[in-house]
Assembly symmetry: C2
């Protein structure tokens, strides 16, 4: 199935919460392909995301809904959302305003922990962004 | 911190399992930037991944270690691994042999469920791959 938009009734949204009450969402920058962050959505945050076109998550530590960029201004305007083959993960393509990471880094994935010395990686896919201020 | 490779003793690996015994890993194709799948690693699968340079996951449904591509041949040779700002998610850049998805689709994220009609999305970042065979 590849649809432009499905009918998001509460019942339809249940397909994304069959394994867990929290749905992981990968946020990828639409213009560069850089993976920015992974966060979790509950039913209410998914509904608000689809209604507003901006990302809403559920903070596991603070136990509350969280509109990404609400205080910092670093919002994520969504271009497209894909669901995976078994409807237990979302991929969100978004236009990111400012840095995505709370450390100030553009992407949360700024710590390189392993490298294959023979490996090739296209320039620009994962830019070695500036280190966040400590 | 940005290091080429850290010392992966059992103790060092614990930093990735502070919130959960299962660590989500986003696999991104190194040559195209396409996000292929999200799967989970326990301590043993992370260790085997770092030792071999190929992805090993833990199947939540089958409750066992799973070497991606072991039966299908559709392996993922790792180029780089990044950890996120709070060490609770990995981003793996890999060279994918064959399709990543068990349906035959190149990426597991082939179901488009939402689109901003004003949104722009670079060609090639998320190719509209062939639908999997039903």
């Amino acid at each position: 199935m590849s649809v432009k938009s499905i009918d998001f009734t509460d019942k339809n949204l249940e397909r994304f919460f069959q394994k867990s009450d929290l749905l992981p969402a990968v946020v990828q920058e639409a213009s560069t392909g850089q993976v920015l962050m992974v966060a979790y959505m509950n039913r209410e945050s998914l509904k608000r995301t689809l209604q507003t076109g901006y990302t809403w998550f559920y903070s596991r530590s603070r136990k509350k809904l969280w509109n990404k960029g609400e205080t910092s201004g670093n919002v994520q305007k969504i271009v497209k959302i894909y669901s995976d083959c078994d409807d237990d993960t979302l991929l969100i393509l978004a236009d990111q305003t400012g840095p995505a990471c709370h450390t100030g880094a553009h992407s949360c994935f700024f710590q390189e922990i392993w490298r294959d010395d023979d490996g090739k990686c296209l320039d620009g896919i994962i830019p070695n962004g500036p280190e966040p201020e400590k």
